[in-house]
Every structure is written in structure tokens, then in C-alpha cells.
């Protein structure tokens, strides 16, 4: 019984959610092996070897893996799979894209987006946008599992010294080609891991008005989120979307501004520790999950909120 975890990285650094997935993997079994498929990705392999929960790093280093394509990754993983009882990765756009392709080739029925490890074959996962939780038992010989990163703490990044073993590349795919990635760079904390998130919805009325959100976010060192309505309306880019089909966030503080609180949005944020809702419609469903609700026009409330924050002597970062 060993777990093979597929790392997500950019050939220089490991992506933070891989560390959450490592935590979950070690709850399944202590023998966690991490597979790094990359190009000039030695630094990634070395940094993962320092994670104490990791027993071995398998490094496949070849220029064909400069950009991630599921079509390229799959053969490497299926070849290694016979030595493992579980294959796992994070349930973000990386893992959601990759794991089913692996599972189908192994004739395995995948367990997606788990929030709890109950035993080596039994897991809890949300269904219906988190309005219900299913406890499921996988009866396949190899278990393919993706992990909801925000449900597990990240593994520590130092103190370990796992062996790094090199392994062979597969054949390069000819049916799919990477063209470009438009990454939105920001100095703010990442939405998925931020301690505070300030989100705007359709009530913001324009992209320009999101500067009111940015000002508060700057003050609180927060990430900026958005409802699907705000993204669809073009107020803000898709990488900010929180919800069933966007990102799931579990910050200490979530401030929802001008968001009515559709089921699909609540799915992405209702596990937050403290929820604040600012909305002028007192009947908006967002108030049913809010710890502190303020029924007010956001265009009055946000500048005033910033003013009050400025009066505080200290603000947690």
C-alpha cells in the first residue's frame, strides 16, 4: 500500500495546493511518493523531497513536459500505477483535468474532490454544490482520488530528506499542443489560500467600481473574489470566481459585497470561518450564512468601512 501523488508545479516551484494534497495523501497511507513530471524541474523535485510526509520523489525530467498537457502526463502515471494502491492529486483545474484521464485508462471509477479521509477506501465528498455530503467507498483495486485542497492543511515544507529517483519519460503527444498561458499576476495573496477574501457581485455595477473592493482588500491584505454574475458581466477576470464551478475558499474572513448569495456561490465560500455580507436587499440569501450582516448600500458602506479600518491602530496581516 503506497500512495502516488501527482505534483502540480511550474518547473520552478511546487504549487501550494500540492502541499494540501500531500497532507491528505499521508492520511490515506504514510508511504507517500510524489511524482514530478517536468522540464528542468530539479528545483521542484528537491523542494518536495524536503517535505517530511514524503517518502520518495519520482522525477521525470524531459523537455516534452515544459508545459502541462494531460495527454502527455497520462502514460507516465499509468506505467507507474501498478506499484500503488492510490493515485491522488489536488482537485483544482490541474487535477480535475488530469485524473479522470488516468482513471479511465486504469478502468477505475474515480472519487472526486474529497473533503475527508475516513479510511483507506472510504471518503467523504460534497455533492450538489456542497448542499449534501456523500460518504463513498471505492471498490476498485487502485483508487484514483482528487482532493479538495482547502479541506486539508498544507504539509510542512522542511525537515524531510526523501530520496529522489529519476524515471523515464513517455512519448510526446501529437494530438494536443500548448499554445499560451495568460496568467494574471498580482501582488495580492492567492485567492485559494488567502486569510481574508473580499468579494464583489453584480451589485458592484461595473468593473470600475471594483476599485472600492481593491481599496478594502489592500487594507486587509486580502485576495479579491467575485460571484459568477460579476465575472459574466465582465467586471473582473475568471480567475477571481468563487463558487461551485469556480474556486472554493475557506478564509478566516470572507466579506461578500453586493452578492445575493446563489446556491452556486455559497458552495464556494460557506465554510469560511467568519462571513460578512453587505447588501442593500435585506432578504438576500447571503444573509442566511453571514455571521455579520449589514443591510446597506455598498457605495456608502465600502468607503465608510475603509475609513473605520483606517482608524484602527493595528490590523492583522
Amino acid at each position: 500500500m503506497s500512495v502516488l501523488l501527482i505534483a502540480e508545479h511550474n518547473n520552478k516551484e511546487v504549487k501550494p495546493f500540492t502541499l494540501n494534497a500531500i497532507s491528505a495523501a499521508s492520511q490515506i497511507n504514510e508511504d507517500v511518493n510524489v511524482l514530478v513530471i517536468g522540464s528542468n524541474s530539479d528545483e521542484v523535485a528537491k523542494s518536495i523531497a524536503q517535505v517530511p510526509n514524503v517518502k520518495k520523489v519520482i522525477h521525470v525530467n524531459n523537455s516534452i513536459y515544459e508545459n502541462y498537457l494531460a495527454e502527455n502526463y497520462t502514460s507516465v502515471i499509468t506505467k507507474l500505477s501498478e506499484n500503488y494502491s492510490h493515485i491522488v492529486c489536488s482537485a483544482n483545474t490541474f487535477g480535475k483535468n488530469l485524473m479522470p484521464r488516468v482513471a479511465a485508462l486504469l478502468d477505475v471509477s474515480q472519487v472526486s474532490d474529497i473533503t475527508k479521509v475516513i479510511s483507506t477506501d472510504t471518503f467523504q465528498r460534497p455533492i450538489y454544490a456542497g448542499n449534501a455530503f456523500a460518504t463513498v467507498k471505492s471498490n476498485d483495486k487502485i483508487k484514483c482520488v482528487t482532493i479538495r485542497p482547502t479541506s486539508f492543511d498544507p504539509a510542512p515544507t522542511s525537515g524531510g530528506s526523501a530520496e529522489i529517483q529519476n524515471s523515464d519519460a513517455g512519448e510526446a503527444t501529437e494530438i494536443a499542443k500548448f499554445i499560451k498561458k495568460e496568467e494574471i499576476k498580482s501582488d495580492r495573496p492567492e485567492l485559494g489560500t488567502a486569510r481574508v477574501v473580499v468579494s464583489g457581485g453584480r451589485g458592484m455595477q461595473s468593473g470600475e467600481n471594483f476599485k472600492l473592493i481593491s481599496a478594502v482588500a489592500d487594507k486587509l491584505n486580502a485576495a479579491i473574489g467575485a460571484s459568477r454574475a460579476a465575472v459574466d458581466a465582465g467586471y473582473i477576470t475568471n480567475d477571481h470566481q468563487v463558487g461551485q464551478t469556480g474556486k472554493v475558499v475557506v478564509p478566516d474572513l470572507y466579506i461578500a459585497v453586493g452578492i445575493s448569495g446563489a446556491i452556486q456561490h455559497l458552495a464556494g465560500m460557506k465554510e469560511s470561518k467568519v462571513i460578512v455580507a453587505i447588501n442593500k436587499d435585506g432578504e438576500a440569501p447571503i444573509f442566511s450564512v453571514a455571521d455579520y450582516g449589514l443591510e446597506a448600500d455598498l457605495f456608502d458602506a465600502l468607503p465608510k468601512f475603509l475609513e473605520e479600518l483606517n482608524k484602527l491602530n493595528t490590523i492583522q496581516k
Partner: protein
């Protein structure tokens, strides 16, 4: 060019679901059912491509109980030319659905298969990728823009970091994001016309696919309820509460 579009019948996205008292699942009796929302985007995109003259035929397929015929019929009303229903009772896991779709693809030989990126009932997000694996076709998941070229597609994908563009050779699988397009409503004349369009029916067993569950559903529970919060009267009070009571700022 021929496009196969897979559609799923799910509980309507506006319905607040209820968990059954015996924890065996969620209540579906007398609950409004609809097409899985991103599957509507998949149909819409296929129809748009047909309207440019680049596709000749659109076939809508659903896997599910008898009533999934309504979902196929809706796709026909929006612009699919004919339908296929593969009947299966009870829960069908994405792996079994993708094996059924594989059989349909082998029969129909489409150049493209479109479907929604995720079904909003089980939230699995697997079927498209699994079908691509079984067929050894490329996959363009979470598509928010599709450019049809001679023998390939250029697809913009919504990913955590922003947007990614890839090129996939045809035949290919595309799973559609909600932002790919704005699904149209079926007009009354088209709904009438759709009633005359053919829907071919199969049983999963006719296709030789084993649909037995590999995953045991042990129980389904309600999520823990959040304690009701309070309404604050002013911004000043809100900031004081966050600072001194919740201690989060």
C-alpha cells in the same frame, strides 16, 4: 463535420435539494429537473458552429432513465438534428457513462464531442476526460472560447491562474464552461418541430457496457448548519465586532 453533444438530466439549478430521511440520497420525486447548465452551453456551441456552415449534423445523446428523453428533446428544440437515448436506471458513474459514449462514438463517428465541464448533481467533473482517454482523443476541458480550424480546434481554457490556450487535433473532446456562450431559448415553432425529430433508443446492456457501480454510496448527509448570525446596524458596529468579537482583523 459531425458534432455529438452529450446532455444530462439533473435537478434544476435553482432547486434547494433535500437529503432523504434514511440518508440514502437526495429527494428527486416531484422535483423540477432540467438540462445540466453547462450542457446547454455545449449544445449552443454546436449549433453556432453549424450556423457558420462548418458542421453538417448535430446529434444529442443522453444516458439516463426514460425521462431523460425530455432533455434530448430540448436539445433538438435548440438545434440538434437527431437524438439518442441510452437507458439506464439508477446511479450511473462517469466511468460507465464514458464507456457508453465510447460505443456511441464508435457508431456515429463524430469529429467532435461536446459536453458540459461538470454535472451539477454529483459534481464529479470526469466524463469528458474519461471519454477522451478511452478513445485516445485529445481533451480541451473548461473551454470558454473555441476556434474551429481546418483539422483542429484552438481552445481557450479557464484555469486557476487565468486562461490557457491549447490546440487539439480533431477528432477531439471539448468540455464547456458556462462562459463559452449564452444559450438560446427554444422558440415555440422549433419546440413543435423537435417533436418530429427522431430519438433512437438503446439499453446500456444492448451496447455491452457494464454499468454496475464500483463506488458504494454509504450515506448522504446534510452539511452542518451554520449558526444564524446577526445584523449589525452600522459600519462602525461591523468593524468593532470584527475586531473585538470575531477577532479576525
Amino acid at each position: 463535420m459531425k458534432i455529438l453533444v452529450a446532455v444530462k438530466r439533473v435537478i434544476d439549478y435553482n432547486v434547494q435539494i433535500r437529503v432523504k430521511e434514511d440518508n440514502s440520497g437526495v429527494v428527486t420525486d416531484n422535483v423540477k429537473m432540467s438540462t445540466n447548465p453547462p450542457d446547454d452551453n455545449a449544445i449552443e456551441e454546436a449549433v453556432k458552429i453549424k450556423e457558420t456552415g462548418k458542421a453538417k449534423e448535430i446529434v444529442a445523446v443522453s444516458v439516463g432513465e426514460e425521462k431523460a428523453q425530455e432533455t434530448v428533446r430540448k436539445a433538438l428544440a435548440v438545434g440538434a438534428d437527431r437524438g439518442i437515448l441510452v437507458k439506464v436506471d439508477g446511479i450511473v458513474e462517469p466511468l460507465a457513462v464514458s464507456k457508453i459514449l465510447q460505443k456511441i462514438v464508435e457508431k456515429e463517428k463524430p469529429d467532435l464531442v461536446f459536453m458540459g465541464k461538470q454535472a451539477i448533481d454529483d459534481d464529479c467533473n470526469q466524463t469528458g476526460q474519461m471519454l477522451a482517454a478511452l478513445l485516445n482523443w485529445p481533451q480541451a476541458t473548461f473551454a470558454s472560447k473555441i476556434l474551429v480550424k481546418e483539422k483542429s480546434l484552438e481552445v481557450t481554457r479557464e484555469i486557476d491562474e487565468g486562461l490557457e490556450t491549447i490546440e487539439v487535433n480533431m477528432p477531439a473532446i471539448v468540455t464547456c464552461d458556462l462562459r463559452l456562450n449564452e444559450p438560446r431559448y427554444a422558440s415555440l415553432p422549433n419546440i413543435m418541430k423537435a417533436k418530429k425529430k427522431p430519438i433512437e433508443q438503446f439499453n446500456a446492456s444492448d451496447l455491452g457496457v457494464d454499468t454496475k457501480s464500483r463506488i458504494e454510496q454509504i450515506k448522504v448527509e446534510e452539511p452542518p448548519k451554520r449558526k444564524a448570525g446577526i445584523k449589525v446596524a452600522s459600519v462602525e458596529e461591523l468593524v468593532q465586532k470584527l475586531k473585538n468579537e470575531a477577532k479576525v482583523i
